[in-house]
Structure formats: C-alpha cells, structure tokens
C-alpha cells in the first residue's frame, strides 16, 4: 500500500469518527447552550448556542424548588460516597471468599449470588420497602446505603472474583508459608493487586448511584433529603407548567461531579475492566 492511499483511508476513518462525534455530542452542546438561553427562547430558536446570553437560569434554578440545590448536591455526594465505601469493602471481602476460600456449597452460593443479578429491581422493590418500613428507615439514607455494606451488588462481586482468580495462587501460598492468615493475605497481597478492579468498582458505583432515580424517589420524601435526580425531577410538571430553563441549568451543574470523577479516573477505569476478563 502506498503512502497517499493509506492517508486517504485515514482521512475517511477520521471523517466518519468526527461525524459520529458530532452526532453524539450535539445533545450535550444543546443542553449547555440552552441553559444560557432566556426561558422563552429555549425551544423556539434553532441555534444550539444562545443568541441572548443569560445566567438567569442558574440563579433561579439554584433555589427554584424551595430547597437550595447545594443541599441536593451534598445529599447525593453523601449517599454516593457511602455506597462507594460500602461496595469497596464488602464486595472485595465477598469476592475473596468466593475466589479463595473453600466452604460448604460454595458453587451453589456463587450461583445464587449471580442469580440476584437477573432479578429486576422492580421485583424486589416492594418487599424491600416493607422491610425498611418495619425498621423505620423510610425517609433516611439508610435504605440506600446499608445494603451496600452487606455485599448487595453482585455485579461488582463477580467482577472482583474474576480479577482475583487471575492473581497467581503462588503469591497467597508464599505468604501463607511465611505465616500469614487469610486476613493478612487479603490485606497485603490481594487488595494491592486488586487496585484496578477497586477503582473500576468505585467509579462505576459513584456514577450509577449519583444518577439513580427510582430507588431514591421511593425512599426519600422530605425535600431537605432529596438527592440531585429528585431535585431535577421537581422542575418538570406537565400539568402546572415546567421550568425548563432552571432544569437545564441544574442538569449542567449535575454533570460536573460525574464527568470530573470519570475524567480523573478514565485511564485506570479502562485498565480495570480490561484486566477482569469482562470484555
């Protein structure tokens, strides 16, 4: 193949990629652009960029729902960070047990654990609600957080089991010869090597929890305990008129934490997924 021919193919591929990029990024550009438009121009002007630039949506949106948007952000971050901590600790422990320990009916328990992945959220919603109601946990963050300290998220357990299975057993055995028990093997051998999987788990857990809607909607009722998705939902009401400007502006604000977490951890995230055998 001659050099010019290769370059032409290159250009063609790039053009296709760029066009795809435009299609994918257009909604985001529209969102950001519209958040700076005056309310009555949002849907009536064609240009995605504002003709009249205004910050009014950000100021009005921040307080529009009666509770300051910073409260929602703080709540969302609190819940997400707790869930991340819970998932990291409990899923790593559970995964270690499944990958390295020998106990009765291990295969059956592993199968059952994977089985919970197939259960749709809706199937367990009402029984879970009843349990948390009996515990008097409704309208608190507890139903959103506590399950994750009990290795609730089978997906990440599975991810880490796969990862630990890839770590040579010789390392464990060498440590055991030196007198290390399971706790020490876990903490000094497995956890450091598990880092890529832990980072993947942390980032995905954060983003998924931050964006979760239905679970938070069902368990939180008090506006001072609302999280960001619930706050955003309060902007839209088809019966009594919606404040789209405020909602779009706050959507942009909401994107900041998740995009930041993703950008910071992007490379490690890819490493983690690539090394676990889940491709």
């Amino acid at each position: 193949m001659t050099a010019p021919a290769r370059r032409r193919i290159h250009w063609r591929a790039h053009t296709v990629l760029l066009l795809t990029l435009v299609v994918m990024i257009y909604p985001l550009v529209w969102l950001v652009g519209a958040s700076f438009k005056p309310e009555n121009q949002i849907f009536t002007t064609v240009s995605p960029l504002p003709l009249t630039f205004t910050l009014a949506n950000y100021f009005s949106g921040w307080t529009a729902t009666g509770t300051s948007f910073s409260v929602y952000l703080a709540n969302s971050v609190t819940v997400s960070v707790c869930v991340v901590i819970g998932n990291l600790i409990s899923c790593a422990l559970a995964a270690y047990a499944f990958a390295r320990l020998d106990f009765a009916l291990r295969k059956m328990w592993f199968g059952l654990m994977l089985g919970t992945l197939m259960l749709p959220f809706q199937a367990t919603l009402i029984p879970q609600y009843t349990i948390f109601y009996q515990l008097n946990w409704i309208n608190t963050f507890l139903p959103l957080v506590v399950p994750y300290f009990l290795a609730y998220d089978a997906f990440f357990i599975f991810l880490m089991v796969q990862f630990i299975r890839g770590i040579p057993r010789e390392l464990d055995e060498a440590a055991a010869l030196d007198g290390a028990g399971h706790v020490r093997v876990f903490l000094t051998i497995i956890v450091p090597l598990l880092r890529p999987a832990l980072i993947t788990t942390g980032v995905l857990t954060f983003i998924w929890t931050f964006n979760d809607f239905l679970r938070q909607l069902v368990y939180l009722s008090d506006n001072s305990r609302y999280t960001v998705p619930l706050g955003l939902n309060s902007f839209i009401d088809k019966a009594s008129g919606s404040s789209y400007g405020g909602m779009l502006a706050m959507s942009v604000v909401t994107l900041v934490p998740t995009v930041a977490v993703f950008l910071i951890s992007q490379r490690r995230l890819v490493d983690g997924v690539a090394n676990t055998g889940i491709k």
């Binding site: 600790i89 409990s90 309208n139 839209i236």
Partner: protein, 436 residues
C-alpha cells in the same frame, strides 16, 4: 479464621462502620416528625415550582388555624405514582395526597381510599363547589376524592399568527362547521408544510368528549361502559377525514410531537395555529407568540358539551394516620378564604364562585384570561344542564390507547373508518371487562 486477626486488619474492616456512624448526623437519622398523632399530617403532591410555593404558603394558614403540623412532600409527576404504589403496597401511604382524576376509580376499586361521605357536609363543605365539578371524585356514588380545582377542554390558538394572516380569531359561539372553514382558511394562508389545526381525532377528553356530550352521549356511562356507539364514532372519524383530505389539519406524522407541552409541539414549532388538549398555563411560557383560548366548537343545538373536570383531586388513603386532620385540610382548599387567595390558580381554576370572587382582583393579565374563560365555561355548563361526566373507569387507559390507535391508523390510511371503528369497540370492551 482463628489465626491472627491483627489489629490493623481489624481496623481496616471496621473503617466502613466508623464511616457510617460518623455520618449518622445528616440524613441518616429517622425524621423527627414520624409520630402517628393527631397533630401532624403528611401531604404529598406533584407540581412545579409555583404550585409548591403557593401550597406551602396556604398550609401555614392551616397550621395556624388547626394546630396541625403539615409535613410537605412534593416532586415532579414522573415516578409519582410508582412511589405511591410502593407505599400503598408497603402499608405506608401519605396521610393525604394529590390524585390524578383519571386514576381515582382504579384506586377506589382496590379499596385503598377513604370514603369521604362521613366528612360531608360537616367538615368538607362540598356544596360550595360547582355541581359539575363535584362529580369528578365520585366513584360508584361515593366521594373518594375532592377536586382541588376545576378544568375544561379549550382550543388553544396562536393569536400572533392569526393576526399576521389577518384572519379573525374564532369567537365563543363557533361551531364545528366554522372550525372546518377557519382551519382551511389558515392552512391556505400559511402555505405548504403548515396547517390550520392539529388532527385531534385521537383526543378523547380534549375533543371527543365535548363532541359526544353535544349529542347527549359521553365517553363513559355511569356504570363504567363505553358511553357511545359505532354511529357516533363513525361520524367523528368521518368529520376529521374530511378535514385531513382538504389539508386543513396536520398529516398524521406530525402527531408524534403532540403529546407533550414542549418546544417540539407543532403549535410551538409553528407548524399549526390551533390545537386541542392544552391550556395557556402550559403552553404560553414556551413561546414569545401571544396565545389565546376559545371554547371547543359547539354542536348543532348550540351546546358546548363541556364537562368540568376536577383538575386534580385530593384523596385520603384508607391507612391515613390522621384522616380527620386530612379532611380538614381538604376543606382548606374548598372554603378557606385566606388559603384560596394564597393558592391562586395553582390548585387548578377556581372550582366555585366563592374562590373566583376572592381571586379575581389579584390576578395578572394571563391568569385573568384563563380564569374568565373558566368562568364562562362554568356558566355554559350550568346553563346547558347536561349530566356531570362520569369518572373514567378502571381500564380507561387502554380505551384511550385504542382510540389513539384507531384514529392514527385511519389517518395514515392503513385502515378504513369502518374497520377502525369496529377495532376500537372490540379492544375497548375487552379492556373494560378485564379491568373489572
């Protein structure tokens, strides 16, 4: 693991527990007002910013006068009923909540709502409301919900466009023949790709219901059956087919965007000049054009056929912890002058002369237009003396879908009118029978 649980290991494992207990202060502790006494209430509604503020102000009046503290819970409409259903199933519904008029019969049939007749008329002064509005929350002769406001089916039109085209806007006395004439005229003046009005042959409550009531029928009978026959529906579809043929109304592909009050709705996008199904409150904020409303065209006998809907209802769950207090709160909406003023038109349009007179002096121009129009409709309804519209029965959603499917298949030319009509009645009857 009997072997060496080192101190460091133990600390590592305990870190999670510490993190949780450290955060126990904010959001993790149970809410303080969860006691089930007679001095507190939880009130749930969906609404936009304006409604939330107006209701909270009115609830302060309530707490001052009754000593009952109200915990307010409000959100958007999305997910509202998902949450509510979960709570009903889990035995923990709010003490009083806002209800979609169309769903009240479904909930009442399951026995999860309080029959309010024991509170009428001593606590809830239902007789203040317009008689036609009162029926909105009645299922099987018993009141299960009280309308928080009144609603009606208008035609919304773009006054700016009509003025530009020098076409006289429709007047309240117009008929369905006038509708054909004026939409054809607009269509012609606007040129290709733009149309006089939306094809509303699918719109059950916004267009078909008044049309049927002008003919002495209704969408449903009091016993929950379909309230009209193949003859009426054939006439209805034939009328719209004529308009479609002459180009006065939209081709069916534009209907995809008509389901939401957003910038893509053909009226806001400038593809049509008239639509059913929406009011000023939802559409005016979306466009710099001036919009206006007029009553749905009259029938041959001059009747508007309007049915005042309850807007939204207030209902008390059977498991409410404070039903007496909740009933007092309902009466706040019905008869408390201060609260009525605080709530403005955020509770729906005034459902009584009392509320109307209290509100009129303080309203802005756009709200005044809405309210005056609502008053006009209420007068017409009283004058026409038609029976109040029965509440939509369980399964109504499937009937609505069946009408929508038949109307659109006819519009797309996939089905003859006769086939569409027979398909509708087969589907609708099965759906209503299954829901019983």
């Amino acid at each position: 693991m009997p072997d060496n649980l080192s101190r460091r290991g133990f600390l590592g494992l305990a870190a999670g527990g510490v993190a949780v207990s450290a955060l126990a202060g904010c959001g993790f502790a149970p809410p303080s007002s969860s006691s089930s006494s007679n001095t507190s209430l939880t009130f749930r509604w969906w609404g936009g910013d304006a409604r939330n503020k107006a209701y909270q102000k009115a609830l302060q009046v309530f707490t001052q006068q009754t000593g009952i503290a109200v915990t307010t819970q409000f959100s958007g409409y999305d997910g509202y009923f998902d949450k509510l259903n979960t709570e009903f199933a889990g035995g923990n519904p709010p003490d009083i909540f806002q209800m979609d008029t169309a769903l009240v019969s479904t909930y009442a049939a399951k026995g999860v709502l309080t029959d309010l007749s024991k509170y009428v008329p001593d606590t809830i002064h239902l007789d203040t409301l317009y008689p036609a509005v009162r029926a909105a929350g009645t299922v099987g002769g018993k009141p299960y919900g009280v309308p928080s406001g009144s609603g009606y089916a208008p035609i919304l039109y773009d006054k700016t466009v009509l003025d530009q085209l020098k076409i006289t806007p429709p007047a309240d006395g117009w008929t369905w023949d006038d509708f054909s004439t004026i939409t054809a005229e607009i269509s012609k003046a606007l040129g290709t790709g733009k149309y006089g009005a939306l094809d509303s042959s699918f719109d059950d409550s916004g267009a078909l219901q008044p049309w049927l009531r002008q003919r002495g029928k209704d969408l449903y009978t009091a016993s929950g059956e379909v309230g009209f026959g193949p003859d009426e529906l054939t006439e209805w579809f034939t009328y719209w087919a004529g308009l479609r043929k002459s180009g006065a109304i939209t081709p069916p592909d534009l209907l995809a965007n008509a389901g939401e009050a957003s910038g893509t709705h053909p009226l806001i996008a400038g593809q049509i000049a008239m639509t059913t199904g929406w009011g000023l409150a939802q559409m005016q904020p979306l466009t710099p054009h001036t919009l206006d409303i007029v009553v749905v065209p009259r029938g041959k006998d001059g009747k508007t056929g309007q049915a005042l809907s309850g807007g939204v209802l207030l209902c008390i769950p059977a498991k409410s912890r404070n039903p007496d207090g909740a009933a007092k709160l309902i009466d706040l909406f019905v008869s408390n002058p201060d609260a009525i003023k605080d709530m403005g038109i955020q509770r729906g349009f005034p459902p009584s002369d009392k509320a109307l007179n209290l509100l009129m002096p303080s309203l802005g121009a756009a709200d005044k237009r809405d309210v005056t129009y609502g008053q006009y409709v209420a007068q017409q309804v009283a004058k026409e003396g038609l029976p109040a519209a029965p509440t939509a029965p369980p399964g109504y959603q499937d009937v609505k879908t069946a009408l929508d499917a038949a109307a659109k298949q006819i519009a797309f030319g996939k089905m003859t009118i006769a086939d569409g009509v027979s398909q509708f009645f087969t589907t609708a009857k099965t759906a209503l029978a299954n829901a019983k």
